[in-house]
């Protein structure tokens, strides 16, 4: 037997410990944890732990409304062309992170990778579609009015203000994009309560928004339990409108509408069952959060 020196054995290379991302809220362009310090465990569709998501509190919601109100003057005063470009930019950045979002949606919604990828495609396309509306909606829903007098009389759409949105609970990315884009492309700012069980694509989307020239505060995303937070936002006197798309509980929807009547918020009512977000969205979500302003301008020499 030939002697061989014993060489030191190489220890088996340990697999690299991945760096997990702490899931936070998105308020005023920043990523704070919930002021409450609370979080909740988010699982994939098979019940495997994915992350601890921040559980937004009433105070977080109020902070988000303040941020949205602060951003409204600047965002609504931007030219329609500029807003369209910014929303288009969101689509570009989302497209660039396509694989990441496909993986997020796959995990969150328990889909095949092909189906998840198709949803990301649709989300990008939806953003592109709405981006184009920025400088067309006034031409479609505005008017000049042939009044019986020496006035140039015209009606134009204007954003209603701060829109609170309870995002769809099932469609974690396409549904979310489909409710946020129409609200903001016309100049509103929004506070969004994301899907409770599937919040992670929303948080990833926040990173896209933060790098897409969307001014801080235009979109604010709150993860957590909408049944806890939504009543505070529905009764908030500095919120102008509320979109209840993600509210499936009839009683909650009723309660939120009653609270919203305190300052006559414009209301987008929930559908009986969650919509097919792949369908043609129409202009209903654009016009739901628009006011019509009529101006009588004198004509004379």
């Amino acid at each position: 037997m030939v002697w061989r020196p014993t060489l030191p054995t190489k220890p088996p290379r340990p697999s690299r410990l991945d760096v997990r991302k702490t899931s936070k809220l998105y308020i005023g362009g920043g990523f704070p944890r919930s002021e409450s310090g609370r979080s909740y465990a988010v699982s994939d569709s098979r019940g495997r732990f994915l992350a601890n998501a921040s559980r937004a509190s009433r105070k977080d919601a109020r902070d988000a409304v303040v941020a949205a109100r602060k951003a409204f003057a600047g965002w609504s005063a931007k030219t329609a062309y500029n807003r369209g470009q910014v929303v288009y930019r969101i689509a570009e950045v989302l497209e660039g992170r396509h694989p990441q979002f496909a993986a997020e949606v796959e995990r969150a919604e328990g889909l095949s990778s092909k189906a998840a990828s198709a949803l990301v495609d649709a989300s990008v396309d939806r953003l592109v579609w709405y981006a184009g509306w920025a400088d067309k909606v006034a031409q479609v829903v505005g008017s000049t009015n042939p009044v019986a007098g020496p006035y140039f009389d015209f009606s134009i759409p204007e954003p209603t203000g701060v829109v609170a949105i309870v995002a769809p609970q099932e469609s974690s990315l396409l549904g979310l994009v489909s409710v946020v884009a129409p609200a903001v492309v016309t100049g509103n700012t929004c506070v969004v309560m994301t899907s409770y069980e599937r919040p992670l694509p929303a948080i990833a989307l926040a990173e896209v928004l933060a790098t897409s020239d969307v001014p801080g505060g235009v979109v604010n995303l709150l993860t957590g339990d909408p049944t806890e937070v939504a009543p505070w936002i529905a009764s908030h006197m500095d919120v102008n409108a509320i979109d209840l798309s993600g509210v499936s509980d009839q009683q909650l929807a009723t309660d939120l509408q009653v609270a919203a009547a305190d300052n006559l918020k414009r209301i987008m009512r929930p559908d009986a069952r969650e919509l097919d977000w792949n369908a043609d969205p129409g202009t209903g979500r654009l016009t739901a959060f628009l006011e019509t302003k009529t101006v009588w301008h004198p004509i004379g020499i």
Partner: protein, 476 residues
């Protein structure tokens, strides 16, 4: 400066007042189940007629009649035929304009000059305008096949009884809906005369139903399960209650509510014209106007001049018998409203604002309130925040356009605003900044059937008038 005017009374003989009125249901006048109430002339407190109070069962009958008319007649009729009925109604309104104007003035207390020259011509114009839409709905931009909603429940206020009826009924019918309309308790008479016009026009029974009564009648209408659409014009308080009550049913609603409009006068404005506009903005219809220019914002540099000319002009306003063609300011619509105006003006004084009215004799009987202005008003004063709905103007000042915008928008309301300046670019800049549904430049309180009207914020939602006004009555 005193002018003597000989009285120029419009004759009442054109109006055939009955001693009592029932409800208009299914094309016929029927007795109400509830107790009747008196409708008085606010100018004299004379009882004009007894009006039936519709209860829950009456409202139900009216809704059933509207439902039958909707499904059997009106929604299946061609748009062209519906249009012709509406044109016919518009023509009869023109034919009977004198009668309508006199009755409106009698029942509401508004000057005959306004009822005759503004209310009634506009009523006809709204019917004419919407008549033409009835057979063109597929071109209105609400989809290829816009459908009516069904039975509309409509509740209107007492300040423009006929005009508000026209704003509600004309677009609803043009779009193919049938209606149950409740006029205000104090001003039912012209709505019932309109019912007679519907009969004259051979409008199919049940297409228009009128249920008279007070708040309980309105509540019965709002709560009725077979109503497909609600439209309300009135106070913000009641509007909020309606918004709450439909939360569970998801009935579509349009609300046209209160206001506290700023009327903003810049130093380059044609001052005499602006003063006319200020007067028209707040004293038109005794200030019973949701979009009244009740907050005057004057640029400091012209404040003294504007105020002196405003007072001089106010001293020439003639107040008195609404049926006198010389009358500028008529009677307050009801003792309740008069009490509210007294209450808020007393608060204005106790909060430190300075009150002024021109010397003016008030008639002994009836409900009267002299045109009044408050100066030294701050934004915190209740008279600068709450809707008074009377001939009371709060005067504030500003230095820069930005300050004017800040003050104008500092209100939970957002119905209307006025801008007086000689500079077109400033008009459009101001219009852009003001959070209000209607912005009048170098004019005020002007309405047109083609021009959408409605508020931002707590002034309600939905628009009336124009193509936009159709949307509220179509499923799309």
């Amino acid at each position: 400066m005193g002018f003597e005017y000989a009285p120029a009374l419009e004759s009442r003989s054109v109006v055939d007042l009955k001693s009592s009125y029932g409800l208009f249901i299914d094309g016929e006048f029927v007795d109400a189940s509830g107790p009747s109430f008196k409708s008085v002339s606010p100018a004299t407190e004379e009882v004009l007629a007894e009006i039936g109070q519709a209860d829950v069962a009456d409202v139900d009958r009216a809704v059933q009649a509207a439902r039958r008319a909707y499904s059997r007649t009106w929604s299946v009729m061609s748009g062209g035929e519906r249009a012709k009925y509406l044109y016919r109604i518009a023509r009869i309104i023109q034919e009977r304009s004198r009668e309508l104007a006199v009755l409106e003035s009698l029942d509401n207390g508004k000057p005959i000059r306004e009822a005759r020259d503004i209310d009634v011509p506009l009523v006809a114009a709204y019917f004419f305008y919407y008549a033409g839409w009835a057979d063109k709905l597929e071109y209105a931009g609400f989809g290829a096949d816009p459908r009516p909603l069904g039975v509309a429940g409509q509740i209107i206020p007492w300040n423009f009884p006929l005009l508000m009826l026209a704003w509600k009924i004309a677009p609803a019918l043009a779009a193919g809906n049938t209606v149950v309309l409740k006029p205000a308790e104090t001003t039912s008479l012209t709505a019932l005369l309109f019912a007679e016009i519907c009969q004259q026009a051979d409008l199919p029974p049940g297409v228009v139903n009128i249920v008279t009564g007070a708040g309980s009648t309105g509540q019965a209408l709002v709560a009725h399960p077979d109503i497909d659409k609600l439209a309300f014009t009135g106070s913000t308080e009641v509007g909020k209650a309606i918004a709450r009550s439909v939360a569970a049913t998801n009935t579509p609603v349009t609300l046209e509510l209160g206001g506290k409009a700023a009327n903003i006068v810049f130093d380059d404005a044609p001052i005499d014209q602006a003063v006319e506009g200020i007067v028209n903005g707040i004293f038109f219809n005794q200030g019973h106007v949701c979009c009244a220019g009740s907050r005057l914002l004057v640029q400091e540099s012209v404040y003294d001049d504007v105020l002196a000319r405003l007072k001089r002009r106010m001293a020439t306003l003639r107040m008195g018998d609404p049926l006198d063609k010389n009358t500028d300011v008529g009677a307050i619509n009801s003792s309740e409203q008069l009490a509210r105006i007294h209450e808020l003006t007393a608060v204005g004084e106790s909060e430190g604002a300075e009150r002024w009215s021109p010397p003016c004799d008030l008639p002994e009987r009836g409900f009267w309130f002299a045109p009044t202005i408050f100066t030294g008003v701050s934004q915190a004063h209740r008279i600068a925040r709450e809707e008074i709905f009377g001939p009371v103007l709060s005067v504030l000042t500003f230095r820069t356009p930005a300050e004017a915008v800040e003050k104008a928008n500092n209100t939970p309301f957002g119905l209307s605003a006025g801008v007086w300046t000689d500079k077109g670019s400033r008009i459009l800049w101001m219009a852009n900044q003001l959070r209000a549904g209607v912005v009048w430049a170098n004019t005020f309180n002007r309405f047109d059937p083609t021009s959408p009207f409605g508020g931002y914020k707590e002034s309600g939602y939905g628009r009336e008038g124009g193509r936009h006004g159709l949307e509220a009555y179509l499923a799309h």
